[in-house]
């Protein structure tokens, strides 16, 4: 079906093996990394395949854009080394099955805002920043028709993604969209990173939500009143698939007058929210997840953050409450931007 | 109407009669459905009523006066809408209104409802009082007729004709005059807004009233309306657009709140007064406005603002909605919702039971009298509290 466009020679010639050396969760020096990467390429068992926490970061670390994380997931599936217990995999795979009828396809003939499986979050995309955009997938009963499937990277199931993704792309395209702004960062990653990596054609242009927000804020510059908050940013795993768009985080922060706190887990060193680590098979995963969550939040707190800005609803679901308990307000980026132009957020 | 013509034929059977609709938001009582509170028979609960309506429309049950009483004992408070966990909950009150409409069309109505509707049709108000007396409430006040001012102050039928509610109408007008905002009234040209008429199932008469009102408002150039009653506020805001009547609609507490914020109105000293606020259904559950009245009350210097256990979304309705302030299907018992409510105000040791609706005002004041609590609690409209020095 779809093959991962992966150049093994590039890996063999890599001098740094950054993908594994820079990994925050595994300890590998360059020599070990070389050995393990070669095993993986040759479909041999490697402890990396067992211990990978599926944080996507190596996609960014690779200086050659050679998709080491997609490779790891593919090999996990090939070698039947699933990161999660079987019942959780089955649950995840079944979750994506739409069962409440077909979606209503209304022709948009313009720019759409795709909510993906977050139809219930339409109140996060209200106000002047989103005027003129037609919302796609605002019906929770039909949202799995718009599910980008990339979640299954955490499940060691590229086969499920590859089986289902074309139909989802066709559904979006049927709306006759010219451009699609994706509410969820991971949808953006699916259509701009994963799909090309596997040779899946995407007949619409994707726009990153933060790029869209930044441009919109520029238009409404005269309405911006600096918020003067100290903020921490919870960078999601999916952001690693579009690292060229990560710059919009600081651009937005500059524009709206918030100060990103000086903390450890930022940019390339961002910390996964732990949602998918908690249930992993590897011994001690639950405690490890709790530990990295604790460190991440302590890091925000000790750096003086008043707000934690979220990109991904899954991170918000996982960390929102514990962040809030420490007195830091959890907010989606879209809501923070709305506050900056004087709008009230529900 | 056959069952197949009933607008909610595809959903009315979905009520399970689980009983969530009897409770307030904090689950503290089973008496938050006003008719169930009064009668405590399952037939009078929100779910029981729907099962009866379905059986009647399906010809399982014959129409009877008792059935009509049960249907008309729904005062449209929306507690059921608030509490029902299922996806059709937004239609619950509408399902009952649609059944009332069928009874209207059949001409099979309880007498008090018939009188109410006939009076509105003939006199523009449910009391059957001559229209020329509609402006009597403002005698002695320097209120101008509406001639293009910034706001139309719409008083409504209760404020115009009910002697108790007239006091609230006057107090509100005095505050508006004092603040200097530009407003006028329709006086004898004012007619019913149609909200209760719709709640009673007479949608044809609502349309008639709405169109008449819209024509009059438009001819006069009305853009902004201050409503004394949340019932008027509701119908102007949410239903008149369906008849192409689009106005900026405010409840008077929203205006007062703004006037206080901008310093155009100062609050009197009410030190050592313990006040509790009764949320009117058509401001609260119908329109999610719980804050403006409280902001206004908090501006009063020195008061102690206490909340009854059932407040905001969980407030117990006074039982006056859907015309029941006149048709009185829920009266005559110490378990009438209005009487339960004033006992709750007594339980929080309130000196004043504050209201923001002429319906609530008349219902609760009568209840205080019947309960023998006149020496303990005063029922006052927020405007009256503000007017008292």
């Amino acid at each position: 079906m779809y093959e991962l466009r992966f150049d093994e020679d590039m890996c063999f010639a890599c001098g740094t093996y950054d993908c594994l050396v820079k990994c925050q969760h595994l300890e590998l020096d360059p020599e070990m990394a070389r050995i393990e990467i070669e095993k993986i390429i040759h479909s041999e068992d490697s402890f990396v395949l067992h211990d990978c926490v599926t944080c996507y970061a190596c996609e960014e670390y690779c200086p050659n854009g050679n998709h080491p994380f997609y490779l790891i997931v593919q090999k996990q599936e090939e070698l039947n080394i699933s990161p999660l217990p079987e019942p959780l995999i089955k649950q995840g795979v079944q979750m994506g099955i739409p069962f409440r009828g077909e979606p209503e396809i209304q022709e948009i003939n313009g720019t759409a805002l795709n909510m993906g499986v977050f139809s219930q979050l339409t109140n996060r995309v209200q106000g002047r920043l989103f005027e003129g955009l037609t919302i796609m997938s605002d019906d929770p009963r039909k949202m799995f028709h718009y599910f980008c499937q990339l979640m299954y990277l955490h499940y060691g199931k590229t086969s499920v993604i590859n089986e289902r993704l074309k139909k989802v792309i066709d559904t979006i395209a049927a709306h006759k969209v010219t451009e699609v702004v994706h509410f969820h960062d991971e949808c953006f990653g699916t259509y701009t990173s994963y799909a090309p990596a596997f040779g899946i054609d995407v007949p619409f242009k994707s726009i990153h939500l933060f790029e869209y927000l930044f441009n919109k804020l520029e238009e409404l510059k005269s309405d911006i009143k600096p918020l003067n908050y100290k903020v921490a940013y919870q960078r999601p795993c999916s952001s690693r698939l579009s690292s060229d768009k990560h710059r919009f985080v600081s651009k937005i922060f500059d524009l709206i007058g918030v100060e990103p706190v000086d903390r450890e887990y930022v940019d390339e060193n961002a910390m996964c929210c732990g949602a998918t680590i908690m249930g992993q098979k590897k011994e001690g995963s639950r405690q490890y997840c709790a530990e990295i969550q604790r460190k991440n939040i302590e890091d925000m707190k000790s750096a003086g953050a008043q707000i934690c800005v979220f990109n991904c609803p899954a991170c918000m679901q996982t960390l929102g409450k514990p962040v809030g308990k420490t007195g830091i307000m959890p907010l989606f980026m879209s809501d923070l931007c709305r506050l900056a132009i004087g709008e009230k957020v529900a | 109407m056959t069952f197949m013509e009933y607008k909610y034929k595809d959903s009315i059977h979905r009520c399970f009669r689980c009983g969530y609709c009897k409770f307030p938001t904090d689950w503290g009582a089973v008496t938050n459905c006003p008719s169930y509170a009064r009668y405590r028979m399952e037939s009078y609960s929100a779910g029981g009523r729907l099962w009866l309506i379905r059986a009647w429309l399906n010809d399982e049950l014959q129409w009877s006066e008792h059935l009509a009483k049960i249907v008309y004992s729904c005062v449209s408070c929306k507690n059921c809408v608030e509490k029902c966990p299922l996806s059709f909950r937004d239609d619950l009150v509408n399902m009952v209104i649609a059944a009332k409409t069928e009874m209207v069309e059949m001409g099979m109505l309880p007498k008090p409802v018939k009188s109410f509707l006939q009076n509105v049709q003939l006199h523009g108000n449910p009391y059957g009082i001559a229209a020329k007396k509609r402006a009597d409430w403002m005698a002695g006040l320097d209120i101008q007729p509406y001639q293009g001012q910034e706001f139309l102050y719409y008083v409504g039928c209760e404020g115009s004709f009910d002697s108790r509610a007239q006091s609230a109408a006057r107090a509100t007008a005095k505050l508006l005059l004092k603040s200097g905002i530009s407003f006028g009234v329709l006086g004898v040209n004012e007619i019913s807004d149609g909200n209760e008429v719709e709640m009673l199932g007479e949608d044809g008469l609502l349309e008639d009233l709405a169109k008449k009102n819209i024509r009059q408002f438009s001819d006069l150039g009305v853009k902004n309306i201050i409503a004394l009653s949340p019932h008027s506020y509701n119908v102007f805001k949410n239903r008149y657009p369906d008849f192409d009547g689009r106005f900026n609609v405010f409840h008077y507490t929203q205006i007062l709140s703004e006037l206080i914020k901008t310093g155009k109105l100062s609050a009197p000293d009410k030190s050592e007064m313990r006040i509790t606020f009764h949320d009117p259904c058509f401001l609260g559950r119908w329109n999610q406005e719980y804050d403006a009245p409280r902001k206004v009350l908090r501006a009063l210097n020195g008061i102690d603002l206490a909340e009854m256990e059932r407040n905001k979304k969980g407030a117990l309705c006074c039982g006056g909605g859907a015309g029941n302030f006149l048709t009185d299907f829920l009266g005559g018992s110490d378990e009438s919702p209005a009487r339960i409510r004033v006992r709750e105000a007594r339980d929080v040791k309130a000196d004043i039971l504050a209201v923001a609706c002429p319906n609530c005002l008349t219902m609760l004041e009568d209840a205080v009298k019947v309960e023998g609590l006149e020496d303990e609690i005063k029922v006052l409209d927020i405007s009256e509290i503000f007017c008292q020095a």
């Binding site: 019942p87 099955i97 | 409770f23 028979m41 399952e42 037939s43 009866l52």
Partner: protein, 453 residues
């Protein structure tokens, strides 16, 4: 007829007695699949004395009486099978006393579960009662009349095991008390007085419960629900056994359903943990997941599906609307925990045959001493075919329960007969003697649990 009606009005007042078609219709209906059974009168008394007068009237007139609480058994147990007077007990809802140091509360039996939860939450936050799985409108008296269980079943057993005292009106009209309240010593214990357990689990056929002293239990500050999932149903009994050995859960429920697709052919165990601090909760999580269940996670046959989920009380259920039809009924059976796999398989098979998405759950009672296993069958109230299918599925399930050597909980007449057909003859005869002793005129909810019918 007229004289009975007038007599009822004399007792409760005109507003609270009815012989009108609208009330009779409403009270003829059960929320499940039972066919309507019409009462002749409906009455809603507020005091024990009023109930007593009604019972005496019924004896005099030889007319049946059926006490009704929330009407949530879904098995038609409060439908008047032989006409008569339906007594709606829900006006008797006072909370009479909460004794904090003794951890009990005395209530009138018609009080709703929701009101109790709310009252304790507001006024005695460190105390809780065992709340039923039924909606909050269910009553205390009704639940005890059927040996109900609630969300404290695992640590503390059946709700009827949590009774410190009872006040009952006998079918002949006398008021009797059981427990320390009978010797006027307060309401703090049922034992050690001679066991007169003639009213709990008797489905309202031996008397009307009017007051109850309910045990209350420690309510901790933090409550969370964690979920553990397996694919192989055969693992459930052993996992529940392990969890009940650890003993730190407040509630353990294993469940599986066809809808949503996420749950299909998977089995989740909901594990409720409480604590007064994050340390306490984390300690319990550690023992449960990192120690006890680690082997299942390691081998990949079980996984932590969620932790720290909110657990609301009362719990809201939307299950009634699964078929967009406003109806469901379930067979509940008290089963050995080891029967879970077979219960699930047979339930899935019966559901498939009747074109109903399967829905099963098992709530652990005690230390895996048993479970309340339920098979739910949704129907569309507006479609008689689906009602028929649900009814047939329920009857087949009742029969399967007997085949699996289970005990049907709160059975309707159909299930009662199955149980009585299998019952020890002496036990059955004793039931009959007790019933005749207490209810010589045969007026108490006749038609239910009638031996030799």
């Amino acid at each position: 007829m007229g004289s009975i009606y007038n007599a009822l009005i004399e007792i409760v007042g005109e507003d609270y007695a009815s012989n009108r078609q609208e009330e009779l219709f409403t009270y003829s209906k059960d929320l499940g699949t039972s066919e309507p059974q019409w009462p002749e009168y409906v009455v809603a008394p507020k005091t024990t004395e009023a109930v007593q007068k009604i019972v005496r009237l019924a004896n005099k007139e030889k007319i049946a009486i059926v006490p009704l609480g929330g009407g949530m058994t879904l098995a038609g147990l409060a439908l008047p099978l032989k006409g008569g007077i339906t007594i709606d007990m829900k006006r008797m809802e006072k909370i009479i006393e909460v004794n904090e140091s003794g951890r009990y509360m005395v209530v009138e039996a018609g009080v709703s579960q929701g009101k109790i939860t709310s009252y304790l939450h507001k006024h005695h936050t460190h105390l809780m009662h065992s709340e039923t799985g039924a909606p909050p409108a269910a009553t205390v008296g009704g639940n005890l009349a059927i040996h109900g269980q609630g969300d404290l079943a695992h640590p503390y057993g059946f709700n009827s095991d949590m009774v410190n005292g009872l006040e009952v009106i006998l079918p002949t009209g006398e008021i009797a008390r059981f427990g320390s309240c009978a010797i006027d010593s307060g309401w703090y214990t049922m034992h050690p007085l001679p066991d007169l357990g003639l009213f709990l689990g008797w489905n309202g056929t031996t008397g009307i419960i009017t007051k109850v002293s309910l045990r209350l239990f420690p309510n901790k500050k933090i409550r969370e629900m964690d979920l553990f999932a397996v694919e192989n149903e055969a693992l459930i009994p052993e996992i529940l056994y392990e969890l009940t050995h650890v003993g730190f859960s407040e509630d353990l429920v294993a469940f599986s359903s066809e809808i949503p697709p996420m749950m299909n052919k998977l089995h989740s165990i909901s594990i409720v943990i409480t604590g007064d601090s994050e340390e306490e909760i984390e300690f319990k999580r550690h023992l449960i997941f990192d120690v006890k269940l680690a082997k299942y996670i390691r081998s990949g046959v079980g996984g932590i599906a969620a932790v720290s989920q909110d657990r609301q009380r009362p719990q809201i259920s939307k299950s009634a609307d699964w078929k967009k039809g406003g109806g469901f009924e379930y067979v509940g059976a008290i089963m050995p925990v080891s029967a879970y796999p077979e219960c699930y398989r047979r339930g899935a098979e019966i559901s498939a045959r009747h074109d109903i998405p399967y829905t099963v759950l098992g709530r652990v009672i005690g230390s895996s001493h048993g479970m309340m296993f339920s098979w739910s069958y949704a129907f569309n109230r507006a479609d008689p075919e689906t009602v028929r299918h649900a009814r047939e599925a329920l009857h087949e399930t009742d029969e399967q329960v007997m085949e699996l050597n289970g005990t049907i909980w709160k059975p309707a007449v159909f299930g009662q007969k199955l149980m009585m057909d299998r019952m020890d003859t002496n036990t059955l005869q004793l039931m009959k003697k007790v019933k005749n002793l207490l209810d010589p005129n045969g007026i108490m909810n006749p038609g239910n649990w009638e031996v030799g019918q």
